[in-house]
Subunit: 286 residues, 2 copies
């Protein structure tokens, strides 16, 4: 039997092509539609997995809030301020610079670092989930391992992975893949975002807007370090997250957000001769 | 001519079904492959567009850094600190609460708000791109329009878009779609992240890690407001970004990150009876 003979043996087979065309148009339409919808959600919200699930399964689950439901309490407003207010605070923060070379000694007292992390932990977070873990490294062997991981990845980043415009934009900052600050700085703080949590009942707990929340906590950490007279540098080691998470034995729900060396600038410390934008370049009044 | 006659008029038309089947398999495979690859990139890095472009086009472009290349300057370390250091700073920040009801008066002086935004503008950012815009709203008509946009979207969010676990997790915070603070608070600050910029030569300028950078700036803003004795609330109005951007006439490269009402708490202000995690729940020492 030849192919055309087979195709002629039944009405269904004869019109197979028509059926296929309809299926093809259907699949293509759905794909285009999904693609458009997916992009919109990406643009709108980082946590698309916590948007409403239209499946009926959702109705069967017994929901409980992650936080206890208690009576709200009175709040009279801010009690602790700075005597010089916002002006003093701005002056303090305007003095901050990103520092890439550190003195090995003196080592700042650990309780200063702890108070800075306590301050960072006062950050607001989506539904008060507090989705942060601060890993504080003082052990030289671990610092060396971190440096090895980052320098080998950064060598690849600069040579192959980063777009030429990116490495060009970094040229005025004189950065490259060699990072002595990772072993010189007395402290390394690795800030992990917990992409989800686990309730006391062992259920998965959603961490809404965890990246924004943890980044805000990092902003508060920078202010605390500045108040304490310590320097730091916010780094985002590209492609190093999984290896560093494994090295520090952190659970799978934690993703590295940033790494900060912390300490005092080296004697010969130099920083880029940068200016900051003026107020009128960043504010719009309505 | 009947359909089967038409289909039999040429060899191509006869085997149309076979051609269609092959096309269908091809499209399906490509779709599945793309889907897998897309997910992997999302997990690794937010800025996949700035990763190296393997196409040869990249070689033809004349790259210039966004910043001027200048000699670096000496940096002696932090000069402005707090007399009470990290401990004082922690005490100040631990006093901060997210406030959802505001007094319409007194109106804090605008120069206090400006100094807070100046402080936020000292934030570090990827390759010093400073990718933030702070829109400060005092006009009551605009505040009312913002409230209208957010309340109508939030009504849909709570009723339809948010997963039931999400609305359940918000129950202890007693939030809903009604937001009087959007018209009561003397100031609204809408913080936009600039997803890219434009160079003086009119070329597109990459803003590396712009969401993390702007969120860190928001953390510094919260500290400045606290230092000035002002209360605020970090909100992420879901699905409202495009409408608010249009209302404020912001360019397409700006995306709303957060909105903060700023002022003094209402006389009868209440806040959730929350505790913060202890230091040992957020720190890990190595």
């Amino acid at each position: 039997m030849e192919l055309d003979e087979i195709l002629e043996t039944s009405v269904f087979l004869k019109y197979w092509n028509v059926v296929l065309t309809i299926a093809l148009i259907g699949i293509l339409s759905k794909w285009l539609w999904n693609r458009k919808g997916h992009k919109q959600i990406e643009r709108e919200d980082e946590d698309n997995e916590i948007l409403a699930d239209s499946s009926s399964k959702a109705e069967e689950i017994d929901y409980a809030p992650a936080l206890e439901e208690k009576e709200h309490i009175a709040y009279k407003g801010v009690a602790e301020t700075l005597s010089g207010g916002a002006k003093q605070f701005y002056k303090m923060m305007n003095d901050r610079r990103s520092v890439r070379s550190y003195r090995r000694e003196p080592i700042p007292p650990i309780d200063v670092i702890e108070n800075c992390i306590r301050a960072a932990g006062t950050s607001p977070s989506g539904a008060h989930t507090e989705p942060w873990t601060f890993c504080v490294i003082t052990d030289m062997e671990i610092k060396q391992s971190i440096r090895d991981i980052i320098e080998s990845e950064e060598e690849l980043n600069y040579a192959q992975r980063m777009h030429k415009q990116w490495t060009t934009d970094l040229r005025p900052l004189k950065t490259n893949h060699v990072k002595p600050y990772l072993t010189d700085a007395p402290y390394l703080i690795l800030v992990f975002k917990q992409t989800y949590g686990v309730t006391k009942q062992g259920k998965r707990k959603q961490h809404y807007y965890n990246e924004i929340s943890v980044s805000i906590a990092v902003g508060i950490l920078l202010c605390a370090l500045q108040a304490a007279g310590l320097s730091s540098l916010v780094t985002t080691p590209l492609n190093c997250g999984p290896a560093l998470r494994a090295l520090l034995n952190r659970p799978v729900n934690e993703k590295l957000l940033v790494l900060l060396p912390v300490g005092y600038p080296a004697e010969n410390c130099k920083v880029p001769d940068l200016e900051r934008k003026q107020l009128d370049d960043i504010i719009v009044r309505y």
